[in-house]
Amino acid sequence: MSTWDVSSLDEWKSDRFPLGAVIPESGNSRDYVTGGWRSERPVRDDVTCTQCLICWIMCPDSAINAEDEKVTTFNLAHCKGCGVCANECPADAITMVPEGCDLPEVK
């Protein structure tokens, strides 16, 4: 999470903003929640899954969590529902299912 204090951003004047919109830290795209763009979510079937990790490699948003070299869950705060993982899975273990209207995970 961000270490850059922007809590009073709304009161900032132009001279308070860092030069040229530089953010004085890196890796902050994790703070940018993109899961709300999704209309379908990936669902993995643990029985069919061979744990080849191809989906984990291919996900353009690094939104597939893995632990001990095994795929665990989808990071639904960042998964955009592109379906790349489902398409690439050699075991057809991922299905894309339509999202409902409320997205509790994103909040």
Partner: protein, 395 residues
């Protein structure tokens, strides 16, 4: 005091020389007439080891400026050069360089834009870039092109500015004519420009930063633009200070405008770039014949010297603006619009006539300039000024 060596050289040669003396870390450039010899001669300096620059050959100007933006964000001192269609191809990166507050210095060989295809001098290319947020300097001579290039580095890298700067010279007329130029010794230039210490270098791994981020609807995009405006306003003082410091070193005067005969001028021509010399030459002759003719040469177009121009024109009865670029459908060319605006707040508003001249390198004969002064004298003595702009010397 620096040692100065007098040489006979083209504008492009001395711009390449100035670039070598400023020792940029990175130059990314693509050749285009009439800028080519700048980057060609600079490439030769790199090949011979006379400057230690990472020279990036790219496949287009779009890539050239993109590479410059990346290198500058990484923390390098970056310089490049372009012209005409090349500058036009850089359009989106020009805004990015300014918005990211990257102090890139670029020479532009002023040239017409197609169509029809034309490789000769006018200011259509550079005027198309006037709202990109770059500081813009104009050179009359090869000497000024050399001086401006060196000063540009100091202006761009100044903490109060941190904006990219374009140092422009007129295609062929200044880029390719051999001129008398005084070059400073390497040590003096290097001491003058100093070392560049970047504020937020991407390559500082101890202090990682993010460049090129997003500022959307609720984001502070508006405030960043305001900060950019504040920076270019602050650059006025910096340009004058750097100019004064450089003048002391070089013995050559610098001002955002340069006036000739304006103390008691009744008629005056305002002009940018190489034509200023011809205008002065004509004015001198007319003065000898009794006409109170004056000249205002604009050396810095962005930020525009409104106050200086309004002050220089006090007491003048009729003014001609010479525009080497069109702004189709506007009331006049780009320089005219600025000058008329500068006079709005002035206590005196005299007739101002816009002359569009020299597009695509068409000849600026001395008789044409003389005819402008004659028109002005008539207008000053009560003859009605032409309604709308005048194309000077077209068939």
């Amino acid at each position: 005091m620096p040692t100065q060596k007098t040489v006979a050289a083209t504008g492009n040669t001395v711009v390449a020389e100035a670039m070598r003396q400023c020792a940029p870390d990175v130059v990314a450039a693509y050749p285009i007439t009439p800028q080519t010899t700048i980057v060609e001669e600079f490439a030769a300096f790199v090949a011979k080891g006379r400057v230690h620059t990472e020279y990036v050959t790219v496949e287009s100007e779009h890539s050239a400026m993109s590479a410059c933006v990346g290198a500058s964000a990484a923390g390098a001192r970056v310089m490049t050069a372009t012209s005409s269609q090349g500058l036009a191809l850089m359009w989106e990166e020009l805004h990015i360089a300014a918005g990211m507050r990257l102090p890139i210095v670029m020479a532009n060989a002023n040239r017409a834009l197609s169509a029809p295809i034309n490789i000769h001098c006018d200011h259509s290319d550079i005027m198309g870039a006037r709202d990109t947020g770059w500081v813009m300097l104009f050179a009359e001579t090869a000497q000024e092109a050399y001086d401006n290039t060196i000063m540009a580095v100091r202006v761009a890298e100044n903490d109060d500015v941190l904006l990219p700067v374009m140092s422009t010279l007129d295609g062929f007329i200044t880029t390719h004519s051999i001129d008398r130029v005084e070059l400073m010794d390497d040590e003096s230039v290097s001491a003058f420009v100093g070392e560049y210490v970047p504020k937020y270098p991407l390559l500082d791994l101890e202090n990682p930063v993010t460049h090129g981020s997003f500022a959307g609807l609720d984001g502070p995009f508006f405030e960043f633009k305001k900060a950019q405006r504040e920076a270019i306003e602050r650059s006025r003082k910096v340009i004058n200070d750097v100019g004064a410091e450089f003048s002391k070193l070089s013995g050559r005067p610098f001002g955002m405008i340069e006036t000739w005969g304006m103390e008691d001028a009744e008629v005056a021509i305002i002009v940018l770039g190489s034509t200023a010399g011809n205008v002065r030459h004509v004015a001198r002759g007319l003065r000898d014949a009794g006409m109170k003719a004056g000249v205002v040469k604009v050396r810095c177009f962005r930020p525009f010297p409104f106050a200086e121009i309004a002050e220089a024109l006090l007491g003048v009865k009729a003014v001609a603006v010479m525009d080497r670029a069109e702004s189709f459908g506007a009331e006049g060319g780009p320089l005219f619009l600025e000058v008329r605006s500068a006079l709005y707040d002035s206590s005196e508003r005299m007739p101002v006539i816009d002359y569009i001249y020299g597009l695509g390198g068409s000849d600026v004969k001395l008789e044409l300039i003389e005819s402008v002064y004659k028109d002005l004298t008539d207008i000053a003595s009560g003859v009605e000024a032409p309604a709308g702009l005048v194309y000077l010397g077209t068939r």
